[in-house]
């Protein structure tokens, strides 16, 4: 490619994909946003995804030994109410599906923290056929804690780092899921098969809330659109093969 060649510009994206620059905001807007970010950083409702061994480090972090409620971190029990998803250890291919379903049910701004080596590179399960090696290929991750297992002190430190990041308005990994949904969906489909889909319509959410980017739609979301035309009225030959994914239509 020579320097004189123009990079193709995508022009068919809707107007809402343009994100306002920080300078464009009015002063009131900036003050409001800073205040909201500060409140977000001081109030983290945590959903524990406790299928890994890291779950054992959370009770001392939450209860009287280290008491994370001092900085506003408190446990919640449903993804709808939670801000922060803690993936405590290794994920198998099967549990990753549940993580993605839970993650898509959470309301933005939402944050993900991966616990321990297993979420970073597979850890001690690196050569297993059934475990997921890198979590951030499938959902956007804000922070990792290295170690096998990280002590509560390390968990506290990552909470404090995440709070500083949220307060500065820099914890925006959740926007990446909207902006590059096609790539995430493609990697999920690599693992789960071509008929993988979730109940949440992420593309529609991205359009509604104005987070459409160049990577939001693509060849993989086209497969979802194709599947959306299927209904219970259509002839059974068009249904996807059963058994590969528990959410396939009967």
């Amino acid at each position: 490619m020579t320097g004189s060649e123009k990079v193709p510009v995508v022009t068919d994206q809707p107007e809402t994909c343009r994100v306002a620059d920080a300078e464009e905001k009015s002063l009131l807007r900036k003050v409001m946003d800073n205040f909201a970010d500060h409140c977000r950083s001081r109030s983290l409702f945590v959903l524990h995804y406790c299928t890994g061994c890291g779950a054992i480090e959370l009770p001392p972090t939450i209860t009287s030994r280290f008491d994370m409620e001092r900085v506003g971190v408190s446990p919640m029990v449903t993804p709808r109410q939670a801000d922060l998803l803690l993936i405590t250890g290794y994920l198998s291919v099967k549990t990753l599906k549940r993580v993605i379903l839970s993650y898509e049910q959470m309301q933005a701004p939402k944050y993900v923290v991966g616990f321990g080596s297993c979420t970073i590179n597979g850890g001690m399960y690196w050569n297993s056929y059934a475990t997921v090696k890198r979590l951030d290929q499938y959902i956007p991750v804000d922070s990792y804690i290295a170690g096998c297992m990280p002590r509560p002190e390390a968990i506290q430190q990552v909470f404090l780092d995440l709070m500083a990041k949220i307060d500065a308005g820099k914890a925006t990994a959740w926007q990446d899921y909207y902006l590059n949904y096609d790539a995430y969906l493609g990697r999920q489909m690599n693992l789960f098969g071509q008929d993988w889909h979730t109940p949440t319509d992420v593309v529609a959410e991205a359009k509604h809330y104005g987070y459409v980017g160049n990577g939001t739609t693509g060849e993989h979301t086209a497969l979802l659109d194709q599947r959306a035309t299927w209904s219970l009225d259509t002839v059974p030959e068009l249904y996807p093969a059963r058994g590969r994914n528990e959410r396939s239509r009967p």
Partner: protein
């Protein structure tokens, strides 16, 4: 007219602000009992602002939105009918029976909203919530009836005036201690604290009616919790602890009533649904009926 308008604005506002203090107190007391430090002073505000500042939210249809209106509207209406020091609002027009009726509206609103969520945990939760309402309303109505007969008036302004003119010896808690005790248990059930926390049950049915509430809906529920603490506390103080002469004595009395509830809640487990009904219809109801008999003997 202008005064009434000021009352209508000020009474819910004070209820919300003092409700924040009560919520903070509840969380701090719980932390102290568990030997923790507990949340910072501004934590209830952080939580509510954060929930209202969520950038996406899920609505489950029109009834889901209307239910939030009923939740907050029910409690805001209840504040207007509760006389507090210097502010009477509509307390002269409505009475105790109206208030009891209005206090059921939020729970019914929640039931309508949860029904449209189609989440099985929510459905179980709300059926448990309405069942527990059935359980605590029986002793509560007995207590209300006793208080009405004792004071000879259902007007809350009269109830407060009678207690304030006679001093501590005419307070409901000294003239009808059994009813006051039964009322305290019914209030505890009304707050949905352990052991009557069957419809929240986070580890069992994932907070029940709140399971599908996200973002701004959850924020509205946090606001509702402030109103709920305040309303229940003020109603008890009005009926049994002499109501409010001045804010400096009135608010500590409200906080004390809520403190009793949040302090004992941490040492209990959770009753099953049928156990809650059995217990509520047996002990507080029996104590309330004995108290009611004493009141009727005294009146006659």
């Amino acid at each position: 007219m202008l005064e009434l308008f000021a009352d209508l604005v000020l009474m819910p506002l004070i209820a919300f602000l003092f409700g924040l203090v009560l919520v903070l107190m509840a969380r701090r007391v719980r932390a102290k009992i568990e030997r923790r430090v507990g949340p910072p002073v501004l934590q209830p505000i952080y939580d509510i602002v954060k929930l209202y500042a969520k950038k996406t939210q899920i609505s489950h249809g029109l009834m889901h939105d209307v239910s939030i209106m009923m939740l907050l509207g029910g409690f805001i209406t209840a504040e207007i009918f509760l006389p507090v020091p210097g502010l009477d609002g509509l307390a002269a027009e409505g009475d105790l029976v109206t208030l009891v009726y209005i206090m059921m509206v939020p729970m019914l609103g929640l039931a309508l909203g949860v029904g449209s969520c189609a989440n099985p945990n929510g459905s179980i939760g709300i059926s448990r919530a309405l069942t527990s309402m059935l359980a605590y309303d029986v002793p509560f109505v007995v207590v209300i009836a006793g208080a009405l007969i004792h004071y000879g008036s259902s007007n809350l302004i009269d109830v407060v005036r009678i207690q304030q003119e006679g001093g501590v010896s005419t307070w409901g808690v000294t003239t009808m201690p059994l009813l006051a005790f039964a009322g305290l248990i019914a209030m505890h059930g009304m707050l949905g604290k352990e052991p009557f926390e069957l419809y929240i049950a986070p580890a069992e049915i994932a907070t029940g009616p709140m399971v599908e509430m996200s973002g701004k809906y959850m924020g509205a529920l946090f606001v509702m919790q402030c109103f709920q603490f305040y309303t229940v506390g003020v109603l008890y103080v009005t009926m049994f602890l002499g109501g409010g002469e001045m804010w400096l004595t009135f608010l500590p009395k409200v906080a004390a009533v809520i403190f009793i509830s949040v302090a004992i809640t941490n040492v209990f487990g959770r009753y099953k649904t049928e156990d809650v009904i059995r217990w509520m219809w047996r002990w507080p109801t029996a104590i309330g009926l004995v108290g009611l008999a004493f009141v009727m003997l005294k009146v006659n």
